[in-house]
């Protein structure tokens, strides 16, 4: 404790002597773009504030503000990106920071700040770009919602928070923006709060992420207590720079972990909560209750990536103390959790029927991939998959949205089909996304990013377990995506009315995203590892011999085979023979008379067509379809325990304390009686009266509880008096108090 205090004080002193820069006057090293970097999150936030002031019917203004602000941020982000590109090639990642005093209490001052490095630059461009596209898409998708303006207000606020998370150079600032993001996610999931399911989902998301955030906060506080700074990088005085990392490694924490490991794990818990890792994934699928653009923006592209980004940001902390070729405890944990999540998500996704839920679970699984990539292959691997995934998953979600839009808000894949004719544009773009996600060889970004992860996992020294899990996950991914496409775009039309293609404002973003989903791959091929060397700041060279290195090509081939097998299996099961609407209608339903209006929200109207696998083995299917009964598990364990605890507390309160109170009151009543009998000799009406009051009030409750303020006051003062007198006397006698 003392040590931490002293280290805190010294580091604070160091900070105050170090650059305490106002944003205005930074040192010459930081360039103009870095100094105005704060504008990138500020603009959308201000936009959100302005939109909040607008009236409901002012839709155009709202959309204009949101998109305009996002566009400005995009331009700034591109400028920042270009700036980083310009400084590339030093052999190490260039990092420019701006630090300013938030406030100072006495001598100590709390410093916040932002930074620009390749990692942040890439994320900035990705988030602003995808965000912009999704904003544009939303204008079409939400066109008929009467809370249009509110929607865009929340979206802008979210974008601001997310960008803040990206550029934050202080873990505290990051946490603030993190919470803004969480809040907006809550607001947007519950955007249609009149739907009870949506409201419940919003609550669930908020609370589940809270669980992670508490650990995160603990980590922050611990880190601050240990290093005395919340800044990541601060010219050597930062929290995750070698100096303080060494100190952290020196600090032993509980059960043989170093402080670094413990803090890393705490922070990872926060990340896991935000980006739906096992066991905190439960909120993510339910979050699909929100409007589809929200699912695309928040729960596929950006917010869930925030957790991954956080891990990448504190990577030095995570990997602190790793020997060459070795791993650290925290990284191992990350790897295993990620791998399990990846497999879990893929398994569950197989058995879902809601088009968005399938994508949601695929997101969960992909996030697992990213975590594994970070843990086993370093920042570049994980981040690369994050970027590519952001694009093609956004594409998939927007495509799904377009499908839902086209099928009159039908979300159940069993009630779709043959859409490739009615919505060809959506079909082709969706196909791009699907192939990218399932990692179709060579031409799709997903292939390269996922292959990098697999390769890294394969050569991971600690264990081959994650690799195996990921391999199975990859197979399943290809399979369930094919299954979904088969359900949605092939077979026969099993839905209502006539599906129609979506307006251009929705399809345009789709095409753009599709292009990126395909093209981004070239940035991360082993032969030309642009992304990795950009993040690493190392010079870039093109050589095909990279393929020749042992074990790479076989692995690629293996992965390719897996993918092809998965796709083939899916094709065999779901596309080969077109699926028909089941002819047998259950007794309680009559096909002909039922219109749209009287179907329950699941959309059951026909006898549910049983999935091929379901008929194959119902039990397994049941497990998958019920997501391994995770929700039920929590229902049975955490919640019920909590309720039991509450009941126990209530019982204790009413019986034990109540009994005590009654006891006291009885004793005081006796006392009062004694008093009275004594007073009856003396003629002291006031005292008598006091005793009367005492008795009566004692009858109601304990005399202490009589609620006579003056009595309380008197008792308080007497107690205080005695204490102070004691303190003075004892203190003076022992010389601790010098009077």
């Amino acid at each position: 404790m003392i040590a931490s205090c002293t280290s805190f004080i010294t580091s604070v002193a160091a900070q105050t002597t170090a650059i305490g820069l106002q944003p205005g006057e930074t040192d010459s090293a930081t360039s103009a773009i870095v100094r105005v970097l704060w504008l990138i999150p500020a603009i959308p936030m201000v936009g959100a504030g302005l939109i909040a002031l607008l009236k409901q019917p002012m839709r155009k203004t709202a959309a204009g503000l949101a998109i305009g602000g996002m566009f400005c941020s995009l331009l700034l982000a591109i400028a920042a990106f270009a700036h980083v590109l310009g400084t590339w090639g030093g052999g190490a990642p260039t990092r420019e920071i701006v630090t300013f005093n938030w406030f100072s209490l006495g001598s100590s001052s709390l410093q916040l700040g932002w930074l620009l490095d390749p990692l942040a630059a890439v994320m900035l461009v990705m988030v602003t770009f995808v965000g912009l596209l999704i904003f544009i898409y939303s204008t079409g998708y939400m066109a008929h919602d009467e809370n249009f303006t509110r929607f865009f207000c929340f979206l802008s606020l979210f974008a601001g928070g997310m960008l803040g998370v990206i550029i934050a150079n202080s873990i505290l600032l990051l946490f603030m923006c993190w919470e803004i993001v969480g809040l907006t996610s809550y607001l947007l999931i519950g955007f249609w709060y009149h739907k009870p399911s949506a409201a419940a989902a919003a609550k669930k998301a908020f609370l589940t992420t809270r669980v992670g955030d508490i650990f995160f906060l603990l980590g922050i506080v611990w880190l601050f207590a240990q290093t005395g700074t919340t800044l990541f990088y601060n010219n050597g005085a930062g929290a995750i720079e070698p100096a303080s990392l060494a100190a952290l490694l020196g600090q032993p924490a509980a059960l043989g972990l170093t402080a670094a490991t413990a803090i890393g794990l705490l922070i990872f818990a926060g990340a896991a909560g935000k980006s739906g890792q096992l066991p905190l994934h439960v909120w993510l699928p339910d979050a699909m209750e929100g409007p589809t653009p929200v699912s695309a923006l928040i729960h596929a592209a950006t917010m869930v990536a925030a957790g991954v980004y956080l891990v990448a940001r504190v990577y030095p902390l995570m990997s602190a103390g790793a020997q060459a070729g070795g791993s650290t405890v925290s990284l191992t944990v990350v790897a295993w959790v990620g791998a399990l999540t990846a497999l879990f998500g893929a398994l569950v996704a197989v058995a879902q029927n809601d088009i968005k839920r399938i994508l949601a679970y695929s997101t969960v699984s992909q996030l697992g991939y990213m975590m594994v990539g970070l843990a086993v292959g370093g920042v570049a691997v994980g981040m690369f998959h994050l970027i590519t995934h952001a694009f093609f998953k956004a594409l998939l979600f927007l495509g799904a949205g377009s499908v839902i839009h086209g099928c009159h808000d039908e979300q159940d894949v069993r009630h779709m089909g043959r859409l490739r004719h009615s919505m060809p544009f959506t079909f082709w773009t969706y196909l791009c996304g699907m192939l990218a996600l399932s990692g179709f060889p060579l031409f799709f970004s997903g292939f390269w990013s996922k292959d990098a992860i697999l390769g890294a996992a394969h050569s991971w020294p600690v264990s081959k377990g994650p690799f195996v899990l990921l391999i199975i996950g990859a197979l399943l991914t290809a399979f369930y995506m094919t299954r979904q496409v088969g359900y949605v775009f092939f077979g026969t039309w099993r839905g209502h009315g006539h599906p129609h293609e979506s307006p251009a404002v929705m399809t345009l973003p789709l095409s753009i995203l599709a292009v990126f989903a395909v093209a981004l791959g070239v940035l991360g091929t082993p032969a030309w590892p642009w992304f990795a060397s950009f993040l690493g700041g190392s010079p870039l060279a093109f050589d095909l011999h990279a393929f020749a290195e042992p074990g790479l090509l076989p692995l690629m081939g293996f992965a390719t085979l897996l993918v092809l097998f998965g796709i083939g299996l899916g094709w065999w099961l779901y596309i080969r023979k077109p699926m028909q609407r089941p002819t047998h209608a259950p007794a309680h339903l009559h096909v002909s008379e039922h219109g749209d209006e009287d179907r329950d929200e699941e959309g059951h109207e026909y006898g549910e067509m049983t999935d091929v696998l379901e008929s194959a083995s119902p039990t397994v299917w049941g497990w998958l379809a019920h997501r391994f009964y995770f929700d039920e598990l929590y229902e049975a364990t955490v919640l019920s325990w909590y309720a039991a605890l509450a009941r126990l507390a209530r019982w204790f309160d009413s019986h034990v304390w109540g009994a005590l109170v009654r006891l006291v009151s009885a004793s005081f009543r006796g006392l009062g009686w004694v008093n009275r009998s004594m007073d009856s000799q003396w003629i002291d009406g006031a005292f008598d009266k006091a005793c009367d009051e005492l008795v009566t009030s004692g009858g109601v409750l304990a005399w202490l509880q009589a609620g006579r303020t003056s009595a309380y006051l008197r008792a308080m003062v007497v107690g205080l008096l005695i204490l102070v007198a004691l303190a003075l006397v004892v203190g003076t006698s022992t010389g601790q108090v010098r009077l």
Binding site: G685, A686, A690, S710, R714, V717, V718, L721
Partner: protein
């Protein structure tokens, strides 16, 4: 034992204490409030003697100008103006007096024991209003903000509390409805 007490000080101190005593002993509430203002004024004068001009005037402005008026209003609104407060010189009353006396004794004992009579006198500090303002805006800005928030909250809260229930409820519901 204590040397060098100015006559002005004695007068103001007497005024202050007398006012306080009157507030304690008078039976008419309004008289109590008025004598309280005398105490406040006396304290302000003491501040002035301590070269704390700003604090002194702030004291007058806040206490005499606002708090005293508020108290008087409260007395009138609670029909307390004319009534002679019932008082029983009962055991509790004496007990309270004893307690207060004990507190006073303790404090005085500590003071007299701890401080050398006729303490070292610092030269008149050169504290201008500018310096106070600068301090408020630089070193003490966070407390200032917090106090500002506190005052706002207290203002709104007092209004809501003192408002007739149904009205307050209506307003709260209207706000909550948004």
């Amino acid at each position: 034992m204590i040397s060098g007490i100015g006559i002005v000080f004695l007068l103001t101190a007497a005024l202050t204490v007398a006012g306080a005593l009157a507030a304690a002993l008078l039976r008419n509430l309004v008289h109590c409030a008025l004598s309280l203002t005398v105490t406040f004024a006396g304290l302000a004068l003491l501040y002035l003697q301590l070269d704390a001009q700003f604090a002194g005037f702030a004291q007058i402005l806040v206490y005499i100008g606002a708090v005293a008026i508020l108290v008087v209003f409260a007395i009138l609104l609670t029909r307390g103006a004319g009534v002679q407060e019932y008082r029983s010189y009962g055991s509790r009353w004496f007990g309270s007096l004893v307690i207060a006396a004990a507190v006073f004794a303790l404090l005085t004992w500590a003071v007299v024991k701890s401080l050398p009579a006729g303490g070292a006198i610092a030269q008149t500090p050169s504290v201008t209003v500018q310096s106070i303002g600068a301090a408020l805006m630089s070193g003490y800005v966070l407390p200032l903000e917090i106090v500002a928030v506190l005052l706002t909250v207290a203002l709104v809260g007092a209004v809501i509390v003192a408002m007739p229930e149904n009205k307050a409820k209506a307003i709260v519901e209207k706000e909550g409805g948004q």
